[in-house]
Amino acid sequence: MNYFLTEEQQMLRELTRQVAEEKIVPVRAALDEKEEFPHEIMKVLAQSDIFGIFIPEEYGGLGMGSLELCLAVEELSWACLGVSTTYAANALGTYPILLFGSEEQKEKYLPAIAAGKKLVAFALTEANAGSDAAGVQSTAVKDGDYYILNGTKQWITNGGEASIYTVIAITDRSKGPRGASAFIVDKGTPGFSFGKKEKKMGIRASITSELIFEECRIPKENILGREGMGFIVAMKTLDQSRVGVGAQGLGVAQGAVDEAIKFAKQRVQFGKPIISFQAIQHMLADMSTRVEASRALVYAVAKHIDSGAKDFSKVAAMAKVFATDTAMKVTTDAVQVMGGSGYMREYPVEKMMRDAKILQIYEGTNQIQRNVIGQALIKEAVSRENGS
């Protein structure tokens, strides 16, 4: 379908597809099997300028927006969600600096991020703070020119591999949600260490670790925005990145459809390729339709964000929910179309199915997304009533 992409957007798509086909597809099964971080692929992405897409030109990036980031994430996810999670988590970690960083912070951090020399991680989640983000226990206590950070962050993508961490911690518990603040923490700061590396069901090329802060002193100029803005930073960041998770869903679902069609054309049963049977065709038709609908929604929301829209929580949540539920359904159906072969590790769709599951869970579960949509609907209804 023609989505009226610009020439630059088509170039970007072509390039990321080339990276996906030439550099990711040949190694994805091995990375998954060995649970190995994709260092080589990250180097290729850096050299190809793909880390700089969403960073303004004055900081060495390409100054592109949400749609371009979605196109890149879609193509990487088409090949491997583990790789695309590593890439997308970098963007997630960078948004707090982009959205709330001071000029000095931007100048200090963004050029290295744009060049792919430094990887970023976003650290909000804790053992008691998942869907209930207000449950954050980590603290940051001001002490002269420093904040002293204590606590443990859990399930942090890129934890250990990233050089830069954007971390949410409580600066004033008495203020409730207004008592949280966001900080930039450099790897190697004394008192900052890494705990266990998680063993996951899918996205095994990405690394997920614990971050441990023990009397970790960080300079006070590393605060993002002002004291008390921590949850605003986190929520605006997640609003921004949500559509990217939708793009991940879209990419992996397209990858699964492509594999299923390729297989169905070759596999012969009852004397015919199985794609000639309506039972298979109807499954493929439904899968493809869902993928195309996801693409239309994800691109539309990304363009809406790029247009400068202020409040896009609802539509971003819709894109995330729809495209990631699609990913789970379509990857599962791809395994079904391919039958026993689909279930085997020799073919890529069982990995796609394992990988897809996380998309319904991370960056706000799909249940939480529906809460966001539901609350927005109520708000809209109330304002309509008051307006009439």
């Binding site: 170039m11 390039l15 080339q18 050299q47 190809s48 700089g52």
Partner: protein, 260 residues
Amino acid sequence: MKIIVCIKQVPDTAEVRINPETNTLIRDGVPSIINPFDLHAIEAGLHLKSELGGTVTVLTMGPPQAEDALREAISMGADEAVLLTDRAFAGSDTLATAYTMSSAVRTIGFDIILCGKQAIDGDTAQVGPEMAEFLNIPHVAYVGKFEEINAGMLRVQRLMDEGYDVVETSVPVLLTVVKELNQPRLPSLKGKMKAKKSVIKKLTHPDIGTEEKNLGLAGSPTQVKNIFAPEAKKDRKVLTGTPGEQAAQLIEELKSLKCI
């Protein structure tokens, strides 16, 4: 350091068929790519530039559509591109090609010239070394590794059937490279954008001071009689001893074979 990379646009894949009547390639309907060995030459050029400074210029001879190959090289990081294109160049064999290319290289100016070891369509591996002869500079073929590089000297490994030779050469020099040398990079996004906008410099026969009789079909003594895969050589003998002893043995061998 002025680095020139010579590339060729070739038909993709081994699917290409040969017209049995003319013994030439059937190129219709086959997509064109940069000769795969030349991608390694481009990568080598970019590497040498990062070590020694200077510029990388890609050069090709071909029809106007060969511009696509040059733009791809720019998207990988080459600084500029030159297309040698003129009806007078049509039908060139390796000799006429090497004559034309070397004339162009002389016009552009150079320190290091890089070529892929051979093109996958003709497979002759002749143009690179022939260019070096026309330019009267040293060449090293089949370079598989750079051992040491500086502005005045290169020490490289030349891959042979068994093992490799270590060759030290002065600059200017022409190298032909094999795929073992490096891993060609993918294009970058900024490179692709630059490539889109780049103006490809075009040189024709009068621009490079070539003599018409040496160009194109007129300048091409080669006639293709037949195409076949040569048999791998089986009976080989390795001579040992001092260079003097080896030379003496070689003369004896050649005499016994009635070669001299």
